[in-house]
């Protein structure tokens, strides 16, 4: 366990040192968040930001609903895009093989690579929530921050598991952009990022209810707005924890298989 923590820390230190050279990109990211906040504010004003019956289970406020969804989606898409970038930059940069001749297991190398993107995604989420409160006076006064932290922690773990699967696919098919676009698109469509899943046609609702992230987002909104049926946060936590524990080992195994395939074909470096 200590070894795992130290390896993750080594990746984090490496990526922080590397990113120190790209401070301006960070400023642009902040500007992007501010732009999104304003855009969603005007969008919700256009659509009418009064209490909406469709959003009653989420506190009833369209702007708050969209901000939480966007912040959560930002976290997921940053993590998944981060996985894509991490694997591809190791392949293109020529460091992939240098990593794979070390004694660190492949799943830990992938998790290490997405550590900083996950933290950046988390930071973005915090900035969205803080911006919404400070500039647009969204009231988080009733939020259960303990539940929010637990849900986010488990959502991060769940996303890291998805990251292992994405990495496995990238190694096999060599181009991961399509995979990440499909995944982030499916998450936006099905998990209730911009609208409650109840507005979806029934077959899509069933699909949405099969996704742990739907429950994570629902739980997050309920924890932040203190709305919805009691016990739903607990269910969301259980679903996230259970699926992460169940999916983790098969995801690591699939990554191993993908690497074995690349070792057989000789395309570990991605060419």
């Amino acid at each position: 366990m200590i070894g795992i923590g130290r390896a993750l820390l080594a990746f984090l230190r490496r990526d922080l040192r590397t990113n120190r050279s790209y401070r301006f990109a960070f400023v642009l990211q902040l500007a992007g968040i501010a732009t999104s906040l304003w855009m969603y504010f005007f969008l919700s004003r256009t659509m009418g930001n009064g209490p909406s019956p469709a959003l009653a289970a989420y506190g009833g406020d369209l702007f708050g609903f969209i901000i939480v969804g966007t912040a959560f989606w930002g976290l997921l898409s940053t993590a998944l895009t981060g996985t894509l970038n991490a694997v591809r930059s190791e392949q293109r940069g020529g460091t992939m093989e240098a990593l794979l001749v070390t004694t660190t297991p492949a799943w830990l190398l992938v998790l290490g690579g997405i550590g900083l993107p996950l933290l950046i995604g988390l930071g973005q989420l915090v900035l969205y929530l803080a911006g919404a409160a400070l500039v647009f006076h969204v009231d988080w006064g009733r939020a259960d921050w303990g539940a929010v932290a637990l849900l986010l922690g488990l959502a991060l773990a769940h996303t890291a598991t998805l990251g292992l699967l994405v990495a496995a696919l990238i190694i096999v098919i060599k181009r991961g952009d399509g995979v990440v676009a499909l995944l982030t698109g499916a998450i936006a469509l099905l998990t209730g990022i911009f609208y409650p899943i109840e507005v979806l046609p029934l077959p899509l609702q069933w699909l949405a209810r099969g996704l742990p992230l739907t429950y994570a987002l629902r739980g997050l909104r309920q924890a932040l707005f203190h709305a919805g049926a009691p016990g739903e946060i607990g269910s969301a936590l259980l679903i996230l924890a259970g699926t992460t524990v169940l999916l983790g080992p098969p995801a690591a195994w699939l990554l191993q298989r993908a690497l074995a395939h690349a070792r057989r074909d000789g395309h570990l470096a991605g060419f």
């Binding site: 390896a7 590397t18 940069g93 020529g94 093989e97 240098a98 001749v101 004694t103 057989r264 000789g266």
Partner: protein, 255 residues
């Protein structure tokens, strides 16, 4: 000694033992589950390398030299045969990688914005070296390769020779039994190349086994005990380096 499938059971093991090892790359365009055989990179090869020996591998481009090295580094899966490093089968994974130090001639294999020391610190952590022990070892290998004075300089500012030496430093970090060296003096000026050769010879004299891919027969003769030649994936000569015939191109000598 207790035996599992990854440990070769009988006697003290040589540094490397290779039995019938071969590699055929699948033809391009095949599906992952229905690969068709394509290019033969390495014909079935048998080779035993005793501990502490410096073995040079010579041969033209495409002879299978780097393929052999990459199989031993666990970066390629052989199509046939087996190999053991210090008695551990390649399939053992991490335990066998602990015995291997891999120095590639590819100067892209580092993080360019980071300093030499920061690069080594990162790779040391992935080899299980942390804290004061890691720092001491990093200082030791940087000193050994003559980069102590530029440890804090960004890798992107290193010359080719410095990059090559840093690759060797990384390979030495975890004190492996076997060093796999893919053209370690490629694109170096004569003085830098000589420094790298002397460093590698010192590693060998301290007990490490060297498997040294090179295109330079004189380098092979001067710094290794044994020279093998590969051609079209086949072993065509295996002689002591002291034998003057060892560095003559075998197929030209035959003609």
């Amino acid at each position: 000694m207790e035996s599992d499938g990854n440990i070769k059971p009988d006697g003290p093991p040589p540094a490397v033992e290779i039995q019938g090892l071969g590699k055929t790359f699948p033809a391009p365009g095949g599906l992952p589950w229905a690969a068709r055989p394509g290019k033969i990179a390495l014909q079935p090869l048998d080779l035993t390398i005793p501990a502490g020996q410096a073995l040079a591998i010579l041969g033209p481009n495409g002879a299978g030299k780097s393929t052999l090295l990459r199989i031993l580094a666990t970066l390629l899966q052989p199509t046939r045969g087996q190999a053991w490093v210090t008695g551990l089968a390649l399939a053992a994974g991490a335990p066998v990688r602990r015995q291997i130090g891999w120095a590639t001639g590819d100067d892209r294999a580092f993080y360019w914005p980071l300093s030499g020391a920061a690069n080594l610190e990162f790779f040391a952590a992935l080899q299980g070296l942390h804290g004061a022990a890691a720092q001491a070892r990093i200082a030791q290998v940087l000193d050994a390769v003559g980069l102590a004075a530029v440890a804090g300089t960004a890798y992107r500012a290193y010359s080719s020779g410095m990059r090559q030496r840093l690759a060797i430093a990384r390979a030495l970090l975890h004190q492996p039994a076997v060093l796999l060296l893919d053209e370690p003096t490629r694109s170096l000026d004569p003085e830098a190349a000589e420094g790298v050769r002397r460093l590698l010879r010192a590693c060998c004299e301290s007990g490490q086994t060297l498997i040294w891919v090179t295109h330079n027969p004189a380098e092979a003769a001067a710094y290794c005990e044994r020279v093998i030649w590969l051609r079209a994936g086949r072993l065509v000569a295996d002689r002591p380096a002291a034998d003057p015939a060892a560095i003559a191109i075998p197929w030209q000598a035959e003609a």
